[in-house]
Amino acid sequence: MDGRPPHAIEVHALEKSYAGDVRALDGVSFAVEAGSIFGLLGPNGAGKSTTVKILTTLSRPDAGTAQVAGRDVLRSPGEVRRAIGVVAQKSGWDREATGRENLVLQGQLHGMGTRAARARAGELLARFGLADAADRVARTYSGGMARRLDVAIGLVHRPAVLFLDEPTTGLDPEVRADMWDEIARLSREEGITILLTTHYLEEADRLAARLAILERGRVVAEGTPEGLKGELRGDAVHVELAEPGDGEVEAALSTLAGVRDVKVDQRTLHARADHGASAVPAVLAALEGHGIRVASVTVARPSLDDVYLRHAGRTFAEAER
């Protein structure tokens, strides 16, 4: 043994196409260290949910292999299902059942005795702040409560690996922040391996120890958030243009020394510069020289948005449209 923790998830060259020739996954590979939070980041349609469906045995890949908690998802789906908890994008709870009934049923399906399932349900309801609503029909829950119930259902059988497929999509910012704390706590205090998919750059940045950026069914970058940002030399320069720009704007800046990776997305211009502060005057001068009016300029350390732009060749906002 070389002392490194084993991988809780290993994914190798997954491919999956759907009817109608939609290529959802085009050779996805990554590995997740046991006990860590791993983020799969990408815009809608990048292949995040398809990856989760395959890893949770819901769907079969056309090619490639995947191990979850040491078991092959194709050869031992039953064992994988016992080892994983899943919080899918679509809430999977039963609307007409109470929070408690949902949890007890899930425990029973995982082979817990009714008494043990009841005890565990009570524990989780208290822990997720649902004790008061425990015996209310889940249909009456607010968005945040419903999401917490989802996570509780995923944890009933104390899984080794938890899948969270876009856990905060559609939640209010405040509720989202609470959910982030909860996810971080799960990883920190219980050592559960968490695979989190998200299309919020901030979420991946904040929670994931490592992340992979998915773009059109491929992993275009993988590493720690800091490492990925560190790979980008220099600063990010963002210029808000007074009117939408085009290739002409990119051409205007491409000749400047110390400025590179120029990309215009409608009224936003992204560029990278070795020294952001000293590049700004030259950039503004070049734009003015081409008669392009500028609304604002910011210089910042690289963000995941810049990482995405660099590897995917388009801005995240553009990919989401």
């Binding site: 469906k53 899918a88 679509k90 399906l109 082979g111």
Partner: protein, 257 residues
């Protein structure tokens, strides 16, 4: 063992969810009574038509309405599955160790329980209204068994179809298209000899008619057990075929995810 336990958990879940909709419960229990009283009154005098064979129309109609109620309640079984499918409940069970069989069988067991309750209420009401069910308790048991088999078959068809079409509108249209004609293309309301020849031909291969025939024969004064067992056998074979269809549809759904 797991399959049995999980089917039971699912059955409890379905029944509990239904009981939370008291209006649904009320309609499910009262509708068959309305049919029995309404059709019983409307067609009361058809027994006087030469060739019907006389007797009381209520005696004749009771097994028909029991079977018809089983057909109608089971035909809609797939609607609840569609709801689970749309809300991600089905997928949640699929990524858990839940027995795959239980995802359908729980619904069918629930359907069978509804059939039993509906049938017993109908039989009691018929007796109160003066029906003479000569076959006695054994006859009633046979009638309920035939209704359960028919309900099992159409419940399987409805669930299988739900998994294939995955749209409520389509399922509603398909169920409506099938169940009323199947009821009228049988001897639910009318003596076989008085129906047109082509309906008699269709009825021979209509599972609804098999169930009515088995149940009505079992309640007759002189029971031909060959007729009863033969039709129960046909119903069992049909129910197995429908179960096979539902399991194929289930696999098709899993492949498409």
């Amino acid at each position: 063992m797991t399959t049995v336990a999980h089917s039971w958990y699912m059955t409890i879940r379905h029944i509990r969810n239904l009981l939370r909709q008291p209006i649904w419960v009320f309609i499910t229990l009262v509708q068959p009574l309305i049919w029995l009283l309404l059709y019983g009154a409307l067609f009361k005098r058809v027994v006087e038509i030469p060739g019907f064979g006389g007797g009381s129309y209520l005696d004749f109609l009771t097994p028909g309405i029991v079977v018809m109620s089983a057909l109608f309640s089971s035909g809609w079984s797939g609607m609840a599955l569609l709801d689970d499918l749309d809300r991600g409940v089905l997928d949640r069970f699929l990524v858990s160790p839940a027995s795959r069989v239980s995802l359908i069988s729980g619904r069918l067991v629930q359907g069978a329980l509804i059939v039993i309750v509906q049938s017993l209420i109908l039989v009691v009401l018929a007796l109160v209204a003066g029906a003479d069910l000569a076959g006695g308790p054994v006859g009633v048991l046979v009638l309920i068994a035939a209704s359960i088999l028919l309900g099992w078959a159409f419940g399987s068809l409805s669930n299988g179809l739900a998994l294939l079409v995955r749209r409520e509108e389509t399922l509603i249209a398909a169920v409506n298209l099938v169940i009323l004609p199947l009821t009228f293309l049988s001897t639910v309301f009318m003596q076989r000899a008085l129906t047109p020849g082509w309906i008699q031909d269709v009825a021979r291969v209509n599972p609804v008619d098999w169930a009515v025939t088995a149940g009505r024969e079992a309640l007759a004064r002189e029971v031909d057990s060959g007729v009863v067992l033969g039709h129960l056998g046909l119903l069992l074979a049909f129910a197995l075929l429908c179960t096979w269809f539902a399991s194929r549809a289930f696999r098709a759904y899993q492949r498409s995810v």
